[in-house]
Symmetry: C2
Subunit: 400 residues, 2 copies
């Protein structure tokens, strides 16, 4: 099939593009390189060196003979989005092109607005372009488990059967997101649901857990095919951060008590989930939701796992939580849909953690310990602590 | 108290400003005049002539001696929002400054994006400015009953107690909005809830029904104090449209079967609801939701009422529904909160409809029958019916 991967230069987008290309599909990637601009803004970088997107594509062709198409542009440019869809005429659009960091979205007013504007408008433009180019295109959109928050009832896959005052309906699962980033995905989900109902579009919303790992069967083929490995406090996820802290002999910093429980999955399962969704498209008019994770862990459990596996003695240190979230809560989330369609999960293993230790050790000289500690706190500097002129930069200059 | 009315030049904003000023509060209005620009874009105008905002404010002072402050600017300009809050230091911010037309938001890609960007970013900027200027400011935000859609269970006021698999929680009421406009208000509600939880802001979200009427005790004092009367298919609401159609002898055009049932209220109740909310602020950290309407009617019931009251024979004509909505559905929505706090509703009366007939008759020469029929349809011209270049104008030029 013809597959368009939006955000194809990113942590998941690049391995996804390779996975679909290796499976024989006709792949085109779209990216604005904004993720690399975030790195320059924050003074961060992928621990594993990454080639430019044209270099990656050329290397993939040299190694396998397969050709991946490329379109460079911004989803916030509606004319660009439509022109790409008109040219490529994809069967499936895999939309991974959003600002994906909760801490980034909480840095200040400008970053909050940038995140919601970038994500919501980009997705609106994709929806309009699909409706006007070919409404039968299957949209696979990356959401997040964080859209649900931590309700005191079981989390279902997107929909909840509610009986109230003697009547019953199946309604969108109530959302209680915990950052402006997570909220942007909630907004996307509502917009996509409406377009499925109003225009008959077909969409799969993948509410993904936290991804770990940086290697797939394809990225391993050549160093220039590697994807990002982020360990900083803004874009890095918790397991990567613990592994880097262990390697440099720093205490593993757990936010609060560490009882925050989330769904996790291996990057090899992420690319497979995308493939399963593409192979089994939603019906016309259907807004289908899968919860995309394989196991649940608390933050403290992950820290204990890393500490136990590392050869030197690593301490666990509980630090003040920069986020506003419960650090002890009920958590039981359904994730049956993708399993029913054939996902065979790769559970988190000692072998994976040990292989990550080796990767980090290999690039140890690239570690900047300063970027590991939290840069943004969920509580802004409130009144009188800081002049508003300084605290509120204009939105325009933030990500340029 | 010091009250800041955002959107103070609008249909509800101007009467609200007068109502608070008449009650002795210190009122400042903020507006960008964008509503008047929409009129120029669409070739529409208020049936009742309206003065400019400076003229209105001067007239109010001449009539009553009371001074209303004015700040002209756009909520999408974060620095402007913060500077106004810093200068005015309000106790209460009444936020009525959003693009409020569902048909406008459905015209095309550019209008959809403009609506969500304008409403969501404007509200985000207000939230940040409150957090950084004075987190104790009470935000009163106009939402819409349309956020709920038409579920097959009773609609509650913002929250729903759910028992599921033996566990119980009180969760945000699931939202199923029916246009990009209604969706923008859903997004706002989620963003405001988060800020109440994360930052301890206090907010009241007023999910308002359809407002009718154009006169309050204050607007009647002088023709230059009049507020808008919109009857066009984009910004006019259904009762106004029927009244204008009756006066010009046009059939009352009911979309589909006309069983669409919605909550309605008189504009005099709107301004009183805002006052009640301001007099009884939400607690710090509380996201309080009221459903702001007094009676439910189906569209057909309203048409029959207007037809029965008009002196000449008026036909009712069922036309193809340009919207995508159910025209027969269950509808039972709670609206107890404001009643408990003292609202005394003004039910829709023959006297009000007859007074509206007189108003319309008086300005009959200003009626443009061409603007009454639907301009936008919920289904866009899908693939191959129209070249995408024509169907998707760039967003920038739409509302200038």
């Amino acid at each position: 099939m013809r597959v368009l991967v939006l955000g194809g230069d990113g942590y998941l987008g690049w391995p996804a593009a390779l996975h679909f290309s290796a499976a024989g599909h006709d792949v085109t990637v779209v990216d604005s390189y904004i993720r690399r601009r975030y790195d320059r803004e924050l003074g961060t970088d992928s621990l594993v060196p990454i080639a430019t997107l044209p270099e990656r594509i050329a290397r993939w062709q040299a190694v396998t003979g397969a050709v991946i198409g490329l379109a460079v542009g911004d989803l916030n440019d509606a004319a660009f989005v439509t022109s790409v869809l008109e040219r490529v005429r994809p069967d499936t659009v895999i939309h991974l092109a959003e600002q994906r960091s909760a801490p980034y979205s909480m840095m200040d007013q400008g970053h909050a607005v940038h995140t919601q504007l970038n994500n919501v408008v980009g997705t609106l433009n994709v929806l309009w372009a699909i409706a006007q180019t070919d409404p039968t295109i299957h949209l696979i959109k990356l959401g997040t488990m964080g859209e649900y928050g931590t309700p005191n009832i079981d989390i279902e896959e997107g929909w909840l059967r509610v009986t109230h005052n003697g009547r019953t309906d199946v309604l969108p699962y109530p959302k209680q997101a915990g950052s402006f980033y997570h909220l942007s995905k909630v907004h996307d989900s509502h917009n996509i649901l409406f377009c499925c109902r109003a225009w008959g579009l077909r969409a799969t919303d993948l509410n993904q857990g936290v991804v770990y790992g940086a290697e797939t069967a394809q990225t391993r083929l050549h160093p220039e095919l590697a994807t990002r490995f982020d360990y900083d406090a803004v874009f890095g996820t918790v397991l990567n951060r613990f592994i880097v802290q262990a390697v440099i002999g720093h205490a593993l910093t757990v936010y609060g008590a560490g009882g925050q429980t989330r769904g996790f999955l291996d990057i090899v399962d992420t690319v497979r989930c995308l493939e399963i969704a593409a192979e089994h498209p939603a019906e016309p008019g259907e807004f289908r939701v899968f919860n995309q994770f394989t196991e649940s862990f608390s933050v403290l459990e992950l820290a204990e796992l890393v500490a136990a596996l590392h050869k030197s003695r690593v301490r666990i240190e509980h630090v003040d939580n920069p986020r506003i979230e419960m650090d002890q809560h009920y958590y039981n989330a359904a994730h049956d849909g993708l399993l029913r369609l054939g996902l065979e999960p790769h559970p988190l293993s000692a072998a994976l953690v040990e292989s990550a230790f080796e990767t980090v050790q290999r690039h140890r000289n690239r570690i900047d310990p300063r970027v590991i500690l939290p840069l943004s706190r969920w509580k802004p500097n409130l009144a009188a602590q800081e002049p508003p002129e300084a605290a509120i930069p204009s939105g325009a200059a933030l990500v340029g």
